[in-house]
């Protein structure tokens, strides 16, 4: 029981990270049809933002905020420098552009900072644990669950209640029509990138707070999982991205915790097989996006 609850909290915490990354991917994809392979580097940049501001002597909480800001700035810079000129290109060209951006940034991180993980020393309280009903539960995973819920709540508020959020939903359905209502395309696209950057920044904060280090590949692997999550949930569907993120995170944690040692090396294979099995039954994903594109 004790272990199950602990693992459940780990699953929610990891799933939350995947969910936020997958959401960032889905928001951008739903509007500009870009599968942003460089999304992981936004997260990594956020991580380095935290690292560098700690090096320059900022207190930990301020450093986390700077990391968030760094991720947003990186997402906007990426859109402005690489993707804006490619607007309207087909999905493949956009995908390859994002590969290039991803590679360039990874090399810059490796040569500019370090190819190896750089440590971040957060207060020891963050890595401690607390007791509830005889169970030992980590502070960081718990906090990350709350941060995830808060982020998803804020995003829902923005998309449901604010005009810019409604415009983003409208853009996902019919971008050309939105422009025929006088809305500047660049604003909506920039808003989508800013939100995806912010979510990647939150993921970076949670990730570094739990692991205490940053390396050039930090964002790459979680974003790979987030890709799988978006496909599992239904490409372009925001609810699907969240659900997919939690499903992939949970599968990963549970296979890690409860698989016999001899099978552990096959963990990813087992998780991916489960995803394929789901897609065989539901090819459009668990919660497919409404197809809103019209001629």
């Amino acid at each position: 029981m004790d272990q199950l609850v602990q693992q459940l909290i780990n699953a929610l915490s990891l799933g939350g990270i995947y969910a936020m990354l997958a959401l960032g991917l889905a928001i951008v994809f739903s509007i500009v049809r870009l599968i942003n392979f460089a999304h992981g580097e936004i997260m990594t940049f956020g991580g380095y933002g935290i690292f560098l501001s700690m090096v320059f002597g900022f207190p930990p909480v301020a450093a986390l905020c700077i990391g968030l800001g760094a991720a947003v700035v990186m997402a906007l810079a990426m859109e402005r420098a690489a993707f804006r000129v490619m607007r309207g290109a087909d999905v493949i060209s956009l995908l390859i552009t994002s590969f290039a951006v991803s590679e360039i940034l990874k090399v810059l991180f490796q040569n500019g900072i370090s190819a190896r993980p750089v440590p971040i020393s957060f207060p020891s309280a963050w890595s401690s644990s607390y007791q509830i009903g005889g169970m030992t539960i980590g502070v960081a995973p718990t906090a990350s669950i709350f941060v995830t819920i808060l982020s998803l709540g804020c995003l829902t508020f923005v998309l449901r209640r604010l005009a810019i959020g409604m415009a983003m939903r409208a853009a996902a359905e019919d971008f050309d029509m939105l422009r025929m209502l006088g809305v500047r395309a660049n604003r909506v696209v920039a808003a989508a990138f800013a939100i995806s950057g912010l979510l990647a920044g939150v993921a970076a904060v949670i990730w570094t707070a739990q692991r205490g280090s940053v390396d050039p590949m930090m964002g790459f692997f979680p974003v790979l999982k987030a890709f799988i999550a978006t496909v599992l949930g239904g490409l372009g569907s925001l609810g699907g991205a969240v659900l997919g993120g939690f499903v992939v995170g949970t599968l990963e944690v549970l296979t890690q915790a409860f698989l016999p040692d001899s099978l552990t090396p096959y963990r990813d294979a087992i998780v991916l097989s489960a995803v394929i099995a789901v897609l065989l039954v539901r090819p459009d994903g668990l919660l497919p996006a409404r197809s809103g594109t019209r001629s």
Partner: protein, 241 residues
């Protein structure tokens, strides 16, 4: 300058090409202030291409377009709309996954301040009571006629001086077509100039103050609706009315 005052839209030697296809071939016409100008013609005559070129949605291959006395040949649709144009595109294209009210909120974001937009939303719900009743419903659940009303209301959120309407009667029940056309006449009475693309020529000639007949991307005739309607040859050849 006298001309600039009573001419809202000037199209001069407009050419629109899609690759090798020349959809619009050097047409020229004007939309007078306060009038309804009907663009008529058979399917594929170039009506919608002309309208979409005016809206900035389709690129102009050659020729000139000026709106309110300003050249807009290379302007983007959003800039054209912000200059005082409302667009009701073919197929209505309401945002089906947004509520009726959200459709209007989105339509107000770029063309009005939040206060003005809220006031106009209230006006729209008053003008189209059915939209007020269904404000919280998903727009995709509205009937075709209601969707067309929403599309008109959405285009009016910026208080446009010129309204571009592409086939507003398409796919609607006859009674609803009448309703939509009485709305069109109402808007004209309020001083909005209208460029109307219609396949239903008889209906369009009833409301129009000026008509331009297109055939194969060229102007076959233009003039007062009464003259065009009485021209039997024209009617049988191009208007199928």
């Amino acid at each position: 300058m006298a001309e600039a005052r009573d001419t809202i839209l000037e199209v001069d030697a407009l050419d629109v090409r899609y690759g090798p296809v020349r959809a619009v071939r050097g047409i020229s016409f004007e939309v007078a202030k306060g009038g309804i100008t009907a663009l008529l013609g058979a399917n594929g005559a170039g009506k919608s291409s002309t309208l979409m070129a005016v809206a900035g949605v389709v690129p102009v291959t050659s020729g000139r377009i000026s709106l309110f006395g300003q050249p807009t040949t290379k302007a983007t649709p959003d800039a054209i709309v912000r200059s005082g144009v409302g667009i009701c595109p073919e197929g209505r294209r309401i945002f089906a996954s947004l509520s009726v009210e959200e459709n209007l909120i989105v339509a107000g974001t770029a063309v009005a301040t939040p206060q003005v937009a809220a006031k106009r939303r209230a006006e729209m719900m008053e003008r189209f009571p059915i939209l007020g009743e269904r404000r919280r419903q998903l727009a995709g659940l509205l009937s075709g006629g209601e969707q067309q009303m929403l599309a008109v209301a959405r285009a009016l959120m910026g208080a446009p001086r010129l309204l571009l309407m592409d086939e507003p009667s398409l796919g609607l029940a006859p009674q609803m077509v009448d309703t939509i056309f009485s709305i069109v006449e109402e808007l004209q009475c309020e001083g909005i100039s209208i460029l109307l693309v219609e396949q239903n020529a008889a209906l369009a000639l009833e409301v129009a103050s000026h008509a331009v007949v297109l055939a194969n991307g060229e102007i076959a005739a233009q003039g007062a609706p009464a003259d065009l309607a009485s021209d039997d040859l024209l009617k049988s050849a191009y208007l199928a009315a």
